[in-house]
């Protein structure tokens, strides 16, 4: 399974996601973007069942935009995460539950940065750092050692590189490229991809 990683800093949230799209034993595609921009202050990284991820995130994304159109103001990152959780939980009790693992990242001018970890059972947790997928298992201790509350964006990017390097070293599944995006008071920005080549530098 693919990896998605999230880190919350003092005034930003950074997400990284590997860019492979596996199909059975084959890599179908190596430049897939799993971090979806929902608005200028909200990102959702999603992994899990092939069709479900895109279908679910699009459903959530369009409904959050609809809310903004109807009310003239946007859902806060916290509200957006709760809305996502509620939908996932409702679908869990049907025959067509979505098999998706999510990280919801947002920046709110009043509430500050917000990172929410949601799994396929709709377990929802507000976290300082989090990860999904097999690759994510290798990241826990890296976060514990290097994360602190006054993290800068450069430091966070360096932690992402450490995680990617560890995944590429120890995980048997090849994940050669990670997309990185950050959300802060200036909106959403895509950073340079972390790849096997530029990790050597």
């Amino acid at each position: 399974m693919e990896s998605i990683i999230g880190i919350k800093g003092k005034d930003f949230v950074m997400l990284a996601a590997d860019s492979t799209h596996p199909h059975s034993i084959m890599v179908l595609k190596d430049d897939e973007n799993k971090i979806h921009k929902i608005s200028d202050s909200l990102l959702i990284a999603a992994t899990g069942d092939a069709g479900d991820t895109v279908q679910f995130v699009e459903y959530i994304s369009k409904n959050i935009l609809l809310y903004k159109m109807r009310n003239g103001y946007e859902l806060s990152p916290k509200a957006a995460a709760y809305f996502t959780r509620k939908n996932l939980a409702d679908y869990l009790r049907t025959r067509y539950a979505y098999q998706v693992w999510l990280l919801v990242a947002g920046y709110d001018k009043k509430e500050g940065p917000q990172l929410t970890f949601i799994d396929y059972l709709a377990n929802t947790l507000s976290v300082k750092h989090g990860a999904h997928g097999y690759g994510g298992m290798f990241c826990g201790s890296i976060f514990d050692k290097y994360h602190h509350d006054n993290l800068t964006q450069d430091e966070a990017y360096e932690i992402m590189r450490k995680c990617a390097r560890e995944i590429q070293k120890r995980l048997i599944i090849s994940q050669p490229r990670f997309h990185v995006q950050v959300v802060d008071t200036n909106g959403v920005k895509r950073l340079e991809d972390i790849t096997t080549e530029n990790l050597k530098d």
Binding site: H21, H23, M26, L28, K29, D31, E32, D49, A50, G51, D52, V54, Q55, Y96
Partner: protein, 271 residues
């Protein structure tokens, strides 16, 4: 919005199940409403249909399966190449299947997986694309066409459909390539190959692929990739068909028996 007009009529899977309140009463609703497929008249088709396909079952159903199809995008457009064999289990059902579906004069699609599923849903897609043209007085974009197909396929997710489609076509003055499958995947990319022979085709395709390929070299790369798949994969064979898709429409480049290709390539190798 036009797309919404189409989508709101799209049935959910619940409607399909409700057609079978009583198991003995068969429904033929799909003849009049082509997007509501009658699911097999028993509960949980995924689980129970699998039983009919197992080796130790008294009733055996073999769906047509093995295939090699490919499509790649390059400097001069898209090349699509396919074989033409249909197999049901160990049996070769046909050597003359047309696995490239000509949706209209701009769009092409390839067919892999369950032959019945693919041909049926391509027929539905073709009609949807034509209806879009009649409603909106313009050709449908590939993005919209694949989205319609994907939404239909996704509503039948986990009901036992088996399809892997590569679609190519000109839209908005450019050529694009999409991959769709019965898991509900819909994605764009540069190189796709689907079917039991895809692992063999990709070996040749990936090592010869470049963006700057000349047209003739691109056709030959597609043809060669399929030929090598027909050689290694018992479930692929027959005729190798190559198509070229450009912004203003598609062309059939060649149709050659894989045995002739084999003789030619072997002769080249021995020289």
């Amino acid at each position: 919005m036009a797309l919404n007009d189409i989508l709101k009529h799209m049935p959910s899977i619940n409607d399909a199940y409700n057609d079978f309140k009583a198991c003995e009463e068969l429904s033929f609703a799909n003849l009049t409403q082509n997007k509501v497929l009658s699911v097999p008249p028993y509960c949980n088709p995924v689980e129970n249909l699998a039983k009919l396909q197992e080796g130790n079952s008294d009733v055996k159903i073999h769906f047509d399966h093995g295939t090699t199809t490919l499509g790649f995008i390059y400097q001069g457009g898209v090349v699509m190449a396919v074989d033409s064999r249909a197999t049901g289990g160990q049996y070769i059902g046909s050597q003359s299947v047309r696995k490239v579906v000509e949706i209209n004069d701009l769009l092409l699609g390839t067919l892999a997986g369950g032959a019945a599923d693919c041909t049926y849903w391509y027929r539905v897609l073709t009609s949807e694309c034509r209806l879009y043209e009649l409603r909106n007085k313009k050709k449908i974009s590939l993005a919209a066409a694949t989205k319609i197909m994907n939404n239909i396929i996704y509503s039948y997710k986990n009901s036992g459909l088996s399809m892997g489609m590569i679609l190519a076509g000109g839209d908005m003055n450019q050529v694009s390539l999409y991959y769709l499958d019965s898991d509900g995947t819909r994605t764009t990319g540069k190189v796709f190959s689907v079917g039991s022979g895809s692992i063999f085709a990709l070996g040749v395709l990936d090592s010869g692929y470049k963006w700057d390929l000349k047209d003739e070299d691109a056709y030959e790369l597609g043809r060669r990739s399929i030929y090598h798949a027909t050689h290694r994969d018992a479930y692929s064979g027959g005729t190798v068909r190559v198509y070229h898709v450009k912004k203003d429409g598609w062309n059939l480049i060649s149709e050659e028996d894989c045995l002739n290709l084999h003789r030619r390539y072997q002769a080249e190798k021995n020289n």
